[in-house]
């Protein structure tokens, strides 16, 4: 059994949080540049220029990309032949996140109670999803997920008769309704299958994928392309001011489901798609 010291996890997570909030990932930046070239609206092209200019300023390390440095979401792949020595991996992640958000001058956006709304002052708790896998490494993927785009999420359990057309309609109508609220150009995460809670998680997992990396199943890769074309035909455009580039990508994640159900969830990621990963 391999061991990783608790403090190693804390240090790695603190650095993940800071870097994620200042450095727009390369895949996102290239997708934005490519979309800017495809964009037909001059107003929308100006917005793309502002977004790219903003990324350049943030990379200097003094100002975060966006003031909403979000809920810190972690997808952890914990090997069955590794253990964290000195404490729980989830505690180490919360400790690291707390330190990163303080040292990086990041905004603390969480409240202790959903109705009584008093800020936790340290951005805890992180939203942590741990998956047990074979091996002796710990992979930690982090996303700083902002509230504006997260609020434009939706989950529905359709009847199986709705089929692929029902899924397409649900996704496209929902992006249309979300309009400029989630800070387009967006990445549309779609979860299909599982049950009520699993499909929401699949949609979140889908926004963690590298931008534009297609689903390995050609059937779903085709569906992703079709949905992207249909979403971009809506005319919503960057910041909702009109344009041909509403989304940079549509990512679909699936899993088996009940004979009676067709769960579908949409989780929207804004253009400031702050993701970072570390393997320990």
């Amino acid at each position: 059994m391999r061991t990783v010291p608790y403090q190693t996890v804390v240090d790695a997570v603190a650095e993940l949080c800071v870097r994620a909030c200042y450095e727009l990932p390369e895949d996102v930046e290239s997708a934005l540049k490519a979309a800017r070239e495809r964009e037909e609206s001059p107003v929308a092209r100006q917005i793309f220029d502002e977004i790219l200019q903003n990324a350049k300023i943030a990379r200097g390390g003094e100002l975060p990309l966006c003031q909403d440095t979000g809920v810190a979401v972690f997808l952890v792949k914990l090997g069955d032949a590794v253990r964290v020595e000195g404490g729980l991996v989830t505690d180490a992640i919360n400790d690291g996140m707390r330190r990163g958000y303080e040292q990086g001058y990041l905004r603390k956006s969480l409240v202790k109670d959903p109705l009584r709304r008093v800020n936790t002052k340290d951005n805890t708790p992180a939203m942590i999803h741990v998956e047990l896998v074979a091996g002796d490494t710990i992979t930690i993927a982090m996303a700083a997920k902002g509230g504006g785009s997260e609020n434009m999420s939706m989950c529905r359990v359709l009847p199986p008769s709705a089929g692929v057309e029902g899924v397409k309609k649900f996704v496209v109508d929902w992006v249309d309704q979300a309009g400029g609220n989630p800070c387009p150009p967006i990445i549309v995460g779609v979860g299909i299958g599982g049950n009520f809670e699993k499909c929401a998680f699949l949609a979140k997992k889908a926004v963690f994928r590298h931008v534009g990396e297609p689903n390995p199943d050609p059937f779903y890769a085709d569906l992703e392309r079709e949905l992207l074309d249909r979403v971009n035909a809506l005319g919503v455009g960057p910041m909702g001011l009109g344009g041909t580039q509403t989304a940079l990508a549509v990512h679909i994640e699936t899993m088996p489901c009940h004979i009676a159900s067709l769960p579908v969830a949409v989780n929207i990621q804004c253009h400031s798609a702050r993701h970072k990963e570390v393997v320990l």
């Binding site: 001059p42 903003n54 100002l63 909403d68 603390k108 909702g240």
Partner: protein, 196 residues
């Protein structure tokens, strides 16, 4: 007020200084690019709830809203030597329940992102208020136009506290004007493609 035509977009670029006059706000039209200078105030969800509660109780407000502009923002903490941290707009519909009350008291401008409710737009038309859009997520870029920031109320709300900001040519676009114009609807209609 200057009103140059920007030849690259066909839209006007207008420089305005706060507080805004009725004449200035009534003249603005959707698509106009505006560079705002002077003092603006920040308030978002929790601060709006407190402002409106104070109005309902007849208590004084931390600033006189007449002619003023409210920016919906919750900035990141400022580093030493900086006036403010990253400071882009937050989604505006969450303030829809509160904005009409402030518009009645003379609020002349709001800065945010995303569309507003019908009740807000009706109040805007009746009283001559404008809703400006700023680019969401461009918080680092926008903060460079903010030269001073001071918390003036609700310090306990942290990022949500009310701040008095001094801005220099803060770039916004008119999204909903006082004549009922809607840039979201216009922009979408212009670029929407019918299914093949």
């Amino acid at each position: 007020m200057t009103g140059d035509r920007d030849t690259s977009t066909g839209d006007r670029v207008i420089r305005l200084t706060t507080p805004l006059t009725d004449e200035a706000t009534r003249d603005l039209r959707v698509g106009d690019r505006v560079l705002l200078s002077g003092v603006i105030y920040t308030a978002r969800d929790a601060a709006h709830a407190r402002l409106v509660a104070a109005i309902e109780k007849g208590e004084p407000l931390p600033f006189d809203v007449d002619g003023q502009v409210i920016y919906f923002v919750g900035p990141t903490p400022a580093r030493e030597g900086y006036a403010i941290g990253s400071a882009g707009p937050t989604t505006a519909y969450r303030m829809d329940a509160y904005s009409p009350t402030l518009i009645v008291l003379g609020l002349r401008g709001m800065i945010g992102k995303g569309a507003r409710a019908a009740a807000v737009r009706e109040a805007m038309q009746k009283h001559g208020c404008v809703y400006f859009g700023a680019t969401g997520g461009a918080g680092a870029l926008i903060s460079q136009r903010i030269t001073a920031a001071e918390v003036i109320a609700f310090e306990d709300l942290g990022a949500e506290a009310v701040r008095k900001l001094t801005v220099d040519e803060f770039p916004v676009v008119v999204v909903h004007d006082a004549a009922g114009g809607d840039l979201y609807q216009d922009g979408r209609a212009r670029w929407k493609k019918t299914a093949s």
